[in-house]
């Protein structure tokens, strides 16, 4: 086993450390955040920090670095109060990754990377037409992390769109069937292969594969 301590981490070159630390929390979700400002200018940014916060109310959190590109995302979602979360699958992974380039605010990443805006059920923020699983989000709160000057954005899921054939009987959306990807480190993309579903855990009872 290799051992890396706090000072080893501190002494790493910046990009090397970013790759190393980004890979340690485990598989990350790969999503595109769609926003629009009041003048109608849209923005699309790739985010790997979306995290489930709770089911009732249905909440998703995400980390935004105010000093980097997603600043446009933050400005827009604060301005309108709404944004979309769109799963990235294999066919759109390169276009999704390209949204991380530093485009000026007055151009939309949608047109720059060749993805299409989609407006559904009068929701103000643009969805990604090519995405299979997409959520309409209502901004609830932002928490400033003083440790590293980032913003943690909390939103409520108010709309969900997905292909009918990927909804499992027990309620979950089958993200392997939707070909949703996972990202690790800064730029490593992974496909998901369903292994099994495990039974509800109780003391003294064996865990069984149930799917």
């Amino acid at each position: 086993m290799q051992y890396i301590n706090k000072s080893d981490i501190k002494n790493m070159a910046k990009i090397y450390r970013a790759q190393f630390i980004n890979s340690l929390s485990g598989p990350k979700s790969a999503n595109l955040i769609g926003t629009i400002d009041k003048s109608g200018q849209t923005n699309l940014s790739i985010v790997s920090s979306c995290v489930h916060l709770g089911a009732d109310p249905p909440l998703v959190g995400m980390v935004i670095r105010p000093r980097s590109v997603p600043r446009h995302t933050l400005d827009n979602l604060l301005e309108t109060g709404y944004y979309t979360i769109n799963h990235i699958h294999k066919t759109i992974a390169k276009a999704a990754h390209q949204t991380s380039a530093r485009y000026p605010k007055e151009v939309s990443e949608f047109s720059m990377v060749g993805l299409n805006e989609q407006y559904l059920k009068n929701f103000i923020a643009p969805y990604v037409r090519e995405s299979e699983v997409k959520m309409g989000m209502k901004f609830l709160d932002r928490i400033h992390f003083t440790f590293n000057d980032t913003e943690f954005i909390v939103g409520e899921i108010v709309a969900v769109h997905f292909p009918e054939n990927i909804l499992s009987e027990e309620g979950s959306v089958n993200i392997a069937k939707a070909n949703s990807l996972s990202v690790t480190g800064l730029d490593h993309y992974h496909e998901l292969k369903a292994l099994y579903r495990l039974s509800y855990a109780k003391p003294g009872k064996d865990i069984k594969e149930i799917d």
Copy 2:
């Protein structure tokens, strides 16, 4: 496409909604949190909400529900100031899942599920011996989410242990090689299959597969 709105979500049965909403944020990390209290009583709990918060300083966040089983985890990490994050791989997935059973505080999930405590480099909290990628964490802050009465725990990575052959040249730990799993919904486990690494994005430059 199927459309689910806010009131559809509200009207779902509790477990169905938990499966549905838990699956929407995308692939989740699958980790075991190891803790110990001042009397030496250890605790181990499965957590799917670990999220990368930043590389410098190296931070990982996680969501803890105070009213559920991981309460022991929260108590212990507040008491000692330290905890461990241990990746779950295929061989230990069922044992890891079993830690979610409601054991009383005076028994350790380590012995109940058949995983071994490991103490490394004088770090106070127990690692999981069978885990391949494991981090020693220093508690930094807790943020109470009033929306759903959960705690968001922020910790700093102060130690990392992993097999030498899974460190990539560019710095990332190859979690596919470590057989780390992803969880979606409440109980669906997925393996990761490396697809590719994508090049750094710049305006006007094509994204290339670089691994």
